[in-house]
Symmetry: C2
Subunit: 338 residues, 2 copies
């Protein structure tokens, strides 16, 4: 058996894992190193963890490669980061060459959203699909797409910005310069903004009290708690999330006709609160979805699959299965391919 080492630089902490070619996890290391520390400290810690895992498991199995998921825009050819708001000091630094020099081993770099897409495509909710996209609902909305077994990077490494697809051309302004982006309706930030707006307008008394008590600590999970407890305004907010995701998915399905669309990130935990509106909107808006996702698709897809394989691939919208590990597994998968 062979194995690869995957690294996830996308989160808050640096995480490293050894993963067998069949997807079996040998070991996962979550270092105390904050990704926001100095570049050299992060690279030191990373190479030390990779060396330890490769010597532990390399005794009996062959290490085929190292894959690293990195937040930001990559230049795949040169192995440098073009732009990375979360990794100050890394831009235009020869990341890949430097890590390869220290390890004496070939390294694959990939954007963290694409790594997450590869992870879900390999071992997660899209593991039987020939094509898929992931939509990650976090502080912002990220995305990645896998076709022909490969992450589609785009001509400049910028593909997958699904969060900036227009939902409402006259909607709220977005940091990107656009208006009414999906990110303004379905990210954790948007959930909190909508809650604050409703509270200010006097439309959400319970949310207003919670905001007054928690102030800056008030987060989208709290809005979800209220929705679960039956609070109407909180439920309406997730209804809006579902509405926006329905339009976003309808756009992606009509344009791309991929097989599986995976919804991940923190806000995906509120699936039960937004999925009904999402599916209703999607079925109304996308004739391709309607033609390729029979009614029962939405009921079984988050439970057991039907006994018999269907003749033609269905279009499926599902929750992510690997949580924050998707990028870690995906990074390892990339290394297994070189």
């Amino acid at each position: 058996m062979t194995f690869a080492v995957g690294v996830d630089l996308g989160g808050t902490n640096l995480r490293v894992a050894a993963v067998r070619e069949n997807g079996e996890l040998l070991e996962r290391v979550t270092t105390g190193t904050k990704v926001s520390r100095s570049r050299d400290a992060v690279i030191d810690e990373m190479t030390a963890a990779i060396r330890r895992l490769s010597s532990t498991y390399g005794a009996n199995e062959r290490l085929v490669g190292v894959g690293i998921g990195v937040p930001g825009i990559l230049d795949a050819h040169s192995g440098t980061l073009r732009e990375s708001p979360n990794l100050p000091g890394w831009s235009d630094y020869p990341v890949r060459a430097e890590i390869e020099r220290r390890l004496g081993h070939r390294v694959v770099l990939e954007n963290d959203a694409n790594a997450a897409a590869m992870g879900e495509a390999w071992l997660g909710s899209a593991r039987h699909a020939h094509s898929m996209a992931i939509i990650t609902l976090g502080t912002g909305i990220g995305g990645g797409m896998v076709t022909y077994g490969k992450a589609w990077q785009g001509s400049r490494g910028m593909a997958g910005e699904f969060g900036h697809i227009v939902i409402d051309p006259e909607g709220p302004r977005c940091n990107c310069g656009n208006r009414g982006c999906a990110e303004q309706f379905a990210s954790a930030t948007a959930v909190v903004r909508m809650a604050r707006e409703m509270a200010e307008r006097g439309e959400a008394p319970a949310l207003a009290r919670a905001i007054a008590q928690q102030s800056v600590a008030f987060c989208s999970r709290r809005v979800h708690d209220f929705a679960i407890a039956g609070d109407g305004p909180a439920q309406a907010i997730f209804g809006k999330v579902g509405w926006a995701l329905g339009i976003l998915l309808s756009d992606l399905i009509n344009a791309l006709n991929l097989e599986v669309y995976v919804i991940g990130g923190g806000v995906a935990a509120a699936w039960d609160a937004f999925a009904p509106q999402m599916f209703a909107e999607l079925r109304r808006r996308s004739f391709i979805y309607k033609a390729t996702a029979p009614e029962d698709t939405e009921t079984w897809l988050n439970g057991a699959a039907p006994a018999a394989a269907t003749e033609a691939p269905r279009t499926m919208v599902v929750r992510a299965a690997l949580g924050s590990d998707a990028g870690l597994y995906g990074a390892a998968r990339l290394a297994l391919e070189i």
Copy 2:
């Protein structure tokens, strides 16, 4: 030199061409056969034209294959048409097998929009690009996308329905069941509808007179004539076309980061009337476009390219170069690849 035969079943008349592997046209045949005639009559005529071209040019050069662009949804594996509103009687008929049987030669079938994409990618406006999409503005809006040198068909052969991407979630109803689709703002049908609506509201006196004179014959080209002549309401209609195309392109660029986006179809003839608003909207809405298409891109892209090659690929939005021949060349190209 080798050559292929391309067939375009997508238009009104059946067209067949012999094309060399270097893209040189040997001969193009436009038969009198209406595609709307009986299936067997069309297939007889098609195979006769293919046979004639292959015997004429096959004497000195080798025929490598036959490619056929077909309107409708294809099952690529079985070589049948799943659905084709414009070809009644063709559904679930083994098109490919039947034509192969008659010709004694392998045949490639492709959706006509994908064939047009391949044509523009091979010999047209996207001929130097590694990835591209075409948006065809006709009665409706069609589309196709080429990545890794191949047309992306989608998991069920339905990819490329760019005309049904949502521009305004509360916009006009579309035949597809959705609301505010791009097709409702930027197709020839939409141009005529907007003209009639403005005329009815008394906002477009000159257009109203033309509509009264021409009645059913009133078409989008007429609205374009008025726009060229300086008619404000007609210019506003093409402004709306540009607005919608700007949003549509912004969505595609943010999601896919392809290199070239080709605008084709009849309405593309009104390029000068809608392009300024299209580019303005695009530059405002897509941060990826802004980052990858320096200001001068829009000025030189419909003229000569700059003398020096740019270091990284620009994002370019350009007019189609091959007109209605794109599908014919694209079909031939597909046959050259088997």
